[in-house]
Subunit: 147 residues, 2 copies
DNA sequence: TGGTATTTCTTTGAAGGTCAAATTTATTTT
DNA sequence: AAAATAAATTTGACCTTCAAAGAAATACCA
């Protein structure tokens, strides 16, 4: 009972504030004008080879129309480059600029820190249990989404 | 290494999709026009005695201007009632309507289901470990917010 | 008491993010 | 070549948010 209560409180806080929390982590001096959405799009573009709009939109689960607007923002801020494909001139390829890659790595560090914080003072055995619980959570979300 | 990787993937998904996930859970036939934000405000108003705008805004971490707009939406949808206080006529008291209370309980069930899903196949000992990890996460967020 | 300050809430203006539907441009199919 | 399909952008509408300004009521104090 006690634990269910604690879990519930944590989830409520998490759901309610997750955007704000992440936003605060992102908006340091250097990345003052980078929004959470910008950062999510940066993550989805990634540091590999350029991707077309449809692929990125699909990964993010947004329409391409929405992604167009997001990428406009990134390009305006100098975080991403947008190039028409030579093979198929309908296709637009997006990739991170130098500055974008830097932002990507910065955000990766935030994730790493978060994971370290969660793992803090957990033994290997305990980590395995945590993983199991989180996989349950993931499955719950997948099932919910499929409903 | 393996576990860190899994955790990272789960967190990325969680951060990116948490709103969508919750939205999908909320928007069943009966609550088609209830947004995630509506639901968060409903949670903050709660089923106890009426609350004034400032208190609810503070709990949600938004400005009172924002809350005014949110409450407009709830009132328009018949989910909340808004009454001027008799003691202090500057104060506006908001409370859930019958329909609002019903929505509140509906969302509570979503939380319960989620927690059940996470707890699935965890022993009591394992639950304690999960709680420990989530408290770490909570502390991390609190520290980040305070920075 | 009467005027100033403070408090509570709402309004306004601006900016992001989102979608569905319409449009444009390019490629594929027939 | 014409029609169908595909990729991306544009448009119009809605929701959420904030900061700043405004309105109304209460508190303070001289």
């Amino acid at each position: 009972m006690e634990i269910e209560q604690t879990l519930n409180e944590i989830f409520v806080k998490l759901f309610r504030n997750i955007n704000t929390i992440e936003e605060q982590a992102i908006r340091t001096e250097e990345y003052k004008n980078v929004t959470t959405n910008d950062m999510h799009v940066i993550e989805a573009i990634g540091i590999g080879s350029p991707k077309n709009m449809t692929a990125v939109a699909k990964e993010l689960g947004v329409t391409t129309g929405t992604l167009t607007i997001s990428v406009n923002s990134l390009v305006k801020k100098g975080l991403a480059d947008r190039v028409r494909s030579e093979e198929d001139r309908r296709v637009v390829l997006v990739s991170l600029s130098k500055k974008g890659v830097k932002a990507f790595r910065h955000h990766q560090r935030f994730h790493e820190e978060m994971i370290e914080a969660v793992m803090e003072r957990l033994t290997e055995e305990e980590k395995v249990i945590l993983e199991k619980a989180l996989k349950n959570l993931n499955r719950f979300f997948r099932d919910k989404a499929a409903e």
